[in-house]
Subunit: 315 residues, 2 copies
């Protein structure tokens, strides 16, 4: 297996203006794996409860993802999240969070998961991220996600993980909160100064930005009229992005490669929001991914054709 992801596998209850689901497969590791599995072999590490169904496990194993490191905790309950989105889908309220088996989770990676080329530390307690990082033998690319809670209550530990990974994927509000810098470019540069070579700023409906030492790149989200449920879009993006990088491990990790990775992440994430939870990406065809990347390319390119401006010599 080439990509190992550690993070939540969950049941989600989600209500949006377009419908609701009372109990569906969710979780950061789930969404990440469904996207990354287009590019490379994925191994999922995370705990589930006794209530976790075989159907959901089979869904997690889509496109060959290895689920042998999914730990079923006897007597435990699977992580549960309940949320509701507002009118324009840009705000959401968490109505319930039940940690279940995540309370007391101690990741124990199998030899196979430890031998990964690429490691993604989805949003879990930074201490656990550090623990997983220590277990991995020699990953060639490591990335992490986090959230406002950990920045608030475990900032020091989080910074200790950030110092050791190659890539940080956070949303804009988290980048601002982590660094205390209101300007996103400044915030991203501060994170780069902590150690990582790559910072990705997720911007929801506006897309995502890539900041490296070499430069800046930004890609809008794919324009969709039928956005049904944004849950998991960020993790799906991360799965496409990191999956693409994993597929090209060994090639120089330059801005060209990272920009293409951004396009694939954006493409898969755009499908994620078209239906509830994992419904769309689980049955997504590779051809559809190609098609959307081509569309995203088409809708972001323009010809640079200099013109004469007033004030120039001759005008």
């Amino acid at each position: 297996m080439s990509v190992t992801v550690v993070g939540s596998i969950a049941y989600d209850a989600v209500k949006t203006p377009f419908g609701e689901r009372e109990r569906m497969l969710g979780g950061a590791a789930t969404h990440f794996a469904l996207a990354a599995s287009f590019f490379d072999g994925v191994s999922v590490v995370g705990p589930v409860g006794e209530d976790f169904g075989d159907e959901e496990l089979a869904l997690l194993a889509t496109r060959g993802t290895d689920v042998s490191d999914v730990e079923r905790v006897e007597g435990g309950k699977t992580f549960f999240w309940k949320g509701e989105y507002g009118w324009d889908l840009n705000s959401r309220e968490t109505l319930d969070t039940q940690l279940g088996v995540f309370e007391g989770f101690q990741p124990k990676l199998s030899a196979q998961a430890r031998a990964c080329d690429v490691l993604f530390l989805a949003n879990i307690q930074p201490g656990l991220q550090l623990d997983v990082l220590d277990q991995c033998e020699a990953p060639r690319f490591t990335a992490l996600d986090s959230m406002n809670l950990w920045i608030e209550i475990a900032r020091e530990q989080l910074v200790a993980v950030i110092e050791r990974v190659d890539c940080v994927i956070l949303n804009d509000a988290e980048l601002r909160q982590l660094t205390g810098k209101p300007n996103l470019v400044t915030a991203a540069r501060e994170v780069l100064a902590m150690g990582p070579k790559v910072v990705v700023g997720k911007q929801g409906e506006y897309g995502a930005a890539l900041i490296t030492e070499d430069g800046f790149f930004a890609l809008p989200a794919y324009p969709l009229e039928n956005v049904i449920d944004p849950t998991g879009a960020g993790d799906t993006f991360a799965g496409g992005f990191v999956g693409y990088v994993a597929q090209h491990v060994g090639e120089p990790l330059d801005d060209g490669l990272l920009r293409r990775a951004m396009a694939y992440g954006t493409a898969v994430a755009s499908y994620n929001v078209e239906q509830f939870g994992t419904e769309r990406v689980a049955r997504l065809a590779p051809e559809e991914v190609h098609e959307r990347v081509a569309d995203i390319h088409a809708l972001t390119q323009f010809e640079h054709r200099p013109v004469a401006l007033v004030g120039e010599s001759g005008r």
Copy 2:
């Protein structure tokens, strides 16, 4: 003169986390003209009070802008706006608005201003926009901006103007409010259905989107670390965008041309925010505009290089 702009010429008092100005030249028509004047001759139509200084009038006339339609109202006071920006510059509070000479403003365009090729109706009462539109003889491209207040209290009149212009430039919140559609693509399409051929959605620090019958295009804002004052950025963008279109009147108004117009609007707007009010764009050199357009091109392009995905035949 080829471009006529009707809108506010103002004194602004602005406070941002990076400093403040107690009384500086501002107003939508001002910012628009300073940007558009790089591309074509501009005529500014709008009222000022007896308090309006010669220095400000000279500033308005930068790069040859014609100010003979700036009406100095005897005994009147120039429009005054006072606002303060929050920590991340994404929110602002209006602390004072004094309409002054704008109360009772009745636009009377000179023969020269009426004969424009391109007309920009900056954010003023929709009834006045309609009046100006009626006065213009045969503009080949017309665009408008508006605001939440008019959508709220003069929606019908605003829609009547929208039905008659070629291009609507609004921010995302205004597009949503105008159409009642939370989805931006749907909202933009609804505005297209009212008559215009072009909708531009301004997205502040995230850039802008272009929606036409032919397709969608989005451009991120130029990434800046030194954002000092966002006041007028939207009007500066409109000035660069509409100015570029004006310079190319007669060429087919296709998506290629409009995309390049977006790049020029984005470039000039990015300079606007680097200093307070008009301070930066007033002394901007054409070479700097070229440079920034080239930079924006570089930071948005990526190579489309299809890869093999899991699930395709052969994998």
